[in-house]
C-alpha cells in the first residue's frame, strides 16, 4: 500500500517508543449503544493503542462463550450495522490517531452490501477489517475491494498456518498480522507461550508487517509474556467478560460497567509498559 494508514503510523510510533502495543476488543453496542460509546471513547486514555470493534453477529462460529454473549447482548439491545459505523464516526470526532479495526463475520457485510459497506466504513473513519470467515482463497470478495478503499485487511494466522501456507495468508494482508495463539475459539485455553514465540519468530522472518498476538489472554503477566517478539497483544474475551460481570441480573448496564472495562484495560496497558 503506497499511502501510510493510521495503523501503519501507530505501529511505527510503538516501535519508536520501544514497547508492545495493546489491542483491545469490545463489541459494538454491548451492552447497549450509549454504554458502548462511553467505553469506546475512554479506551485510548485507558491505554488502548489499537481498537478492535466487534460487529455483532447472530452466529459467531469462531468465538467462545464470552464474545458470543456480548454479541447477543448487543443484538438484543437492537444493534444494527449502521450503529456500529456511527459509533466510529462519533469516536473520530474525538480521536484522529487511534486506529479502529472492525472485526466480525462476513454475512452482515455481504447483506449491507460489500461496496456500500466499504464506502460507509471508510467515511466513518474505520482503518481496517478482520473478517473471520473470509479466507485468502476468497480475496477477490472483500479483501481486494477493501484495499482499493484504503482499508487495511488484517488476516489471522494460526498454529495450523504452516510455512507452506503462510505466504498465501500474507499475500494481501496489510496493517498488521493477527497471530491466533491457540487452535480454538476466543477466550479458550491459555496459550503455550513457547510455542507462540516459535511461531511468531517464523512469521517475523516471512514478513515486515507488525504481528499482534491474541486469543485466550486473561492476565497482564500473560500479555507481557506473549508480547516478547511480537508487536502487540490483543485482549478481548477478558474485557467483554468484565462488561458481563458488571451488569444487573437483567442484563442492564450499571454505574460500574464503563469503569470496570477501562480499569482492566489500564491494568493490561500498565503490565505491557513495565519492561
Amino acid at each position: 500500500m503506497s499511502k501510510t494508514t493510521r495503523i501503519d503510523r501507530r505501529f511505527a510510533k510503538l516501535k519508536e517508543e520501544g514497547r508492545p502495543g495493546l489491542v483491545t476488543f469490545i463489541t459494538a453496542g454491548d451492552p447497549d449503544l450509549e454504554t458502548s460509546k462511553k467505553i469506546l471513547l475512554g479506551l485510548p486514555k485507558a491505554g488502548a493503542d489499537v481498537i478492535e470493534l466487534g460487529m455483532p453477529f447472530s452466529d459467531p462460529m469462531a468465538d467462545g462463550p464470552a464474545i458470543q454473549a456480548s454479541s447477543l447482548r448487543a443484538l438484543k439491545a437492537g444493534h444494527k450495522m449502521r450503529a456500529t459505523l456511527e459509533l466510529v464516526s462519533e469516536f473520530r470526532k474525538h480521536d484522529q490517531d487511534t486506529p479502529i479495526v472492525l472485526m466480525g463475520y462476513y454475512n452482515p457485510i455481504y447483506v449491507y452490501p460489500n461496496e456500500e459497506f466499504l464506502k460507509d466504513a471508510t467515511a466513518a473513519g474505520v482503518d481496517g477489517l478482520i473478517v473471520v470467515d473470509v479466507p485468502p482463497e476468497a480475496d477477490d470478495e472483500l479483501c481486494i475491494p477493501a484495499r482499493k478503499h484504503g482499508l487495511n485487511f488484517i488476516r489471522l494466522a494460526t498454529p495450523t498456518t504452516d510455512a507452506k501456507r503462510l505466504p498465501t495468508v500474507l499475500t494481501n494482508t496489510s496493517g498488521f498480522l493477527y497471530y491466533v495463539s491457540i487452535t480454538g475459539i476466543t477466550g479458550a485455553a491459555a496459550p503455550d507461550v513457547n510455542a507462540v514465540h516459535t511461531h511468531v519468530n517464523l512469521i517475523k522472518k516471512a514478513t515486515t508487517l507488525p504481528v499482534a498476538v491474541g486469543f485466550g489472554v486473561k492476565t497482564g503477566d500473560q500479555a507481557k509474556a506473549l508480547a516478547k517478539g511480537a508487536d502487540a497483544v490483543v485482549v478481548g474475551s477478558a474485557l467483554v467478560s468484565a462488561i458481563e460481570q458488571s451488569l444487573e441480573p437483567g442484563g442492564r448496564s450499571t454505574s460500574k460497567t464503563v469503569a470496570s472495562v477501562l480499569d482492566l484495560v489500564q491494568s493490561f496497558a500498565g503490565a505491557l509498559r513495565t519492561g
Binding site: 447472530s58 452466529d59 459467531p60 469462531a62 450495522m81 454475512n107 504452516d162 487452535t183 479458550a188
Partner: protein, 413 residues
C-alpha cells in the same frame, strides 16, 4: 463447456452436473468461508477426497459396505393405494427409509468414515437435527471403532428422544447445545467450534450438502447412489426414465442425491419441498430458505438463508427437526437460480396430514421430513396424467417421530 462459475444468469448451461468449480462454487453459491484455523484442513480434505475418488479400492470398499452393511440397493416401491387416492401420476417411493439406521444419512456417513480413516483422523464429530445423521454417524463410528461426539440442539434433544437414546447405546457422546434456539443451526456452530479447537486429530462428518467446499460436493456424490439406483430400477421396471421426482429439502442431501443423476435429463421434472412451518407468510415461522430467504454466507458457504435485513440469521421453524435449518445446500441455491429445479413448500399441518395418510393407506410410517414431500405429491399428482411416473424419496422412517406426532395429535402414549 460452460462451468458452473462462469454461467451468466438467465442462460442455460450445457450441463448441470459439472459443478462445483475448483474453488467450490455453484454459480455464485458455495465457496469456502471458514476461519483460517480450518483452511489447511479443508484443503487436505479436498486432496484426500480427490485421491479417494480416483481410487478403485475406495469405491470397492464403499460398495461392499453399501450392499452388505446398509442394505442397498433400497427398493423402488409402487405406492398403489396412494396412486388410487390421488388419482393421477403413478407414484413410486424410493425406500431409503429401509436402509440400516432408518434413513438416507448412512449413505454419506459410510463414505465419510472411509475418508476419515484415509486421513488417519482418530476422533469424529458431527451435528444433528432430527438425530438421523447423529445415529448414522454413531453407527459408523461403532463399526470402525472411533470415538464420536454429536452436537445436538437442546430443543431437538427434547423432541427426538429415541434417537438420543440410540446414539448413547452406540457409544457416542451427545452434547446438548443451549445457544440460540437450540436447533440444528446452533448444533452446527458448536460442532465448528469443537473442530477449530481439535482440528489436528478430528474429522467433522457434516450431514448435509452444505458447509465449506468440498463438503457439498462429496456429500452429494455419496448420496447420488439414490438417483443412480432409481434410474436403473425405473428402466428395468417401466422401460423408461421417470417423469417427476419429488424430495424434501432441509439442507438438501436426500434431494440432491435423487436429483443429481437426472439433472441433464431435461424431461425429468424435479421438485424440492421445503418446510413451510406455520406458513410462508408467517415471519420467522417457517424453514423455507429458498422460498422465503435471501442469499448470504453462513457455515462455510454462500447460499439462501433465512435472515433479517441486517444479515442476522433467523431461527426459522419446522415441525420436523431435520428440516429446521435456516440455510440450504449451495447447489440447490444454484439449481433454483437456473430454474432447473422447482422449489415449493409444505406446512407443518400438511406434513402431519400426509404422515397419517401414508401410514394408514400404505402401512409405511414415514418420517416427518419426507411427509413434507408427500404433502406436495398430494397436490401435484392429481394434476399429472396416469402415465406420469413420479418418484418420491421416502428418505426416513417415522419411528423417531411418533412421540412428537402423538403430541401434535393430542394423543397420549
Amino acid at each position: 463447456m460452460a462451468t458452473a462459475s462462469t454461467q451468466p444468469k438467465g442462460t442455460k448451461p450445457n450441463t448441470f452436473r459439472s459443478g462445483p468449480d475448483d474453488r467450490g462454487h455453484f454459480g455464485i453459491f458455495g465457496g469456502r468461508f471458514v476461519a483460517e484455523t480450518l483452511m489447511p484442513l479443508i484443503l487436505d480434505l479436498e486432496r484426500a477426497y480427490n485421491e479417494a475418488k480416483n481410487d478403485p479400492a475406495f469405491h470397492a470398499e464403499l460398495a461392499d459396505l453399501n450392499a452388505n452393511y446398509a442394505g442397498r440397493p433400497s427398493a423402488l416401491y409402487f405406492a398403489e393405494r396412494l396412486t388410487e387416492q390421488f388419482g393421477g401420476a403413478k407414484i413410486y417411493f424410493k425406500r431409503d427409509e429401509l436402509n440400516h439406521t432408518g434413513s438416507h444419512k448412512i449413505n454419506n456417513c459410510l463414505g465419510q468414515i472411509l475418508l476419515a480413516r484415509r486421513m488417519r483422523k482418530t476422533r469424529i464429530i458431527a451435528e444433528t437435527g432430527a438425530g438421523q445423521h447423529g445415529v448414522a454417524v454413531a453407527t459408523v463410528c461403532a463399526r470402525f471403532g472411533l470415538p464420536c461426539e454429536i452436537f445436538m440442539g437442546k430443543t431437538d434433544v427434547e423432541r427426538q428422544k429415541p434417537n438420543v437414546f440410540r446414539m448413547g447405546l452406540l457409544g457416542a457422546k451427545v452434547n446438548p447445545v443451549t445457544s440460540g434456539a437450540g436447533t440444528l443451526k446452533d448444533a452446527m456452530n458448536e460442532a465448528l467450534r469443537d473442530w477449530v479447537t481439535n482440528v489436528r486429530d478430528t474429522y467433522y462428518i457434516i450431514g448435509t450438502v452444505a458447509g465449506p467446499h468440498p463438503y457439498p460436493e462429496l456429500v452429494r456424490d455419496f448420496q447420488s447412489i439414490i438417483g443412480k439406483e432409481v434410474r436403473e430400477q425405473m428402466l428395468e421396471r417401466e422401460g423408461r426414465l421417470p417423469d417427476t421426482l419429488v424430495a424434501c429439502i432441509g439442507g438438501g442431501s436426500n434431494a440432491i442425491g435423487l436429483f443429481h443423476p437426472f439433472l441433464d435429463d431435461e424431461n425429468v421434472k424435479l421438485y424440492g419441498v421445503e418446510a413451510g412451518g406455520h406458513g410462508l407468510d408467517v415471519p420467522n415461522g417457517h424453514a423455507a430458505s429458498m422460498n422465503g430467504g435471501n442469499p448470504g454466507v453462513l457455515h462455510g458457504n454462500r447460499t439462501y438463508l433465512l435472515q433479517d435485513d441486517d444479515g442476522q440469521i433467523l431461527e426459522g421453524h419446522s415441525i420436523s427437526a431435520g428440516l429446521d435449518y435456516p440455510g440450504v445446500g449451495p447447489e440447490h441455491a444454484w439449481l433454483k437460480e437456473t430454474g432447473r429445479v422447482t422449489y415449493v413448500a409444505a406446512t407443518d399441518q400438511e406434513a402431519l396430514d400426509a404422515f397419517q395418510m401414508c401410514t394408514t393407506l400404505e402401512g409405511i410410517i414415514p418420517a416427518l421430513e419426507p411427509s413434507h414431500a408427500l404433502a406436495y405429491v398430494e397436490k401435484l399428482a392429481p394434476t399429472l396424467s396416469k402415465d406420469n411416473l413420479l418418484v418420491m424419496n421416502m428418505c426416513g422412517r417415522g419411528d423417531k417421530d411418533i412421540f412428537a406426532v402423538a403430541g401434535h395429535l393430542g394423543m397420549k402414549m
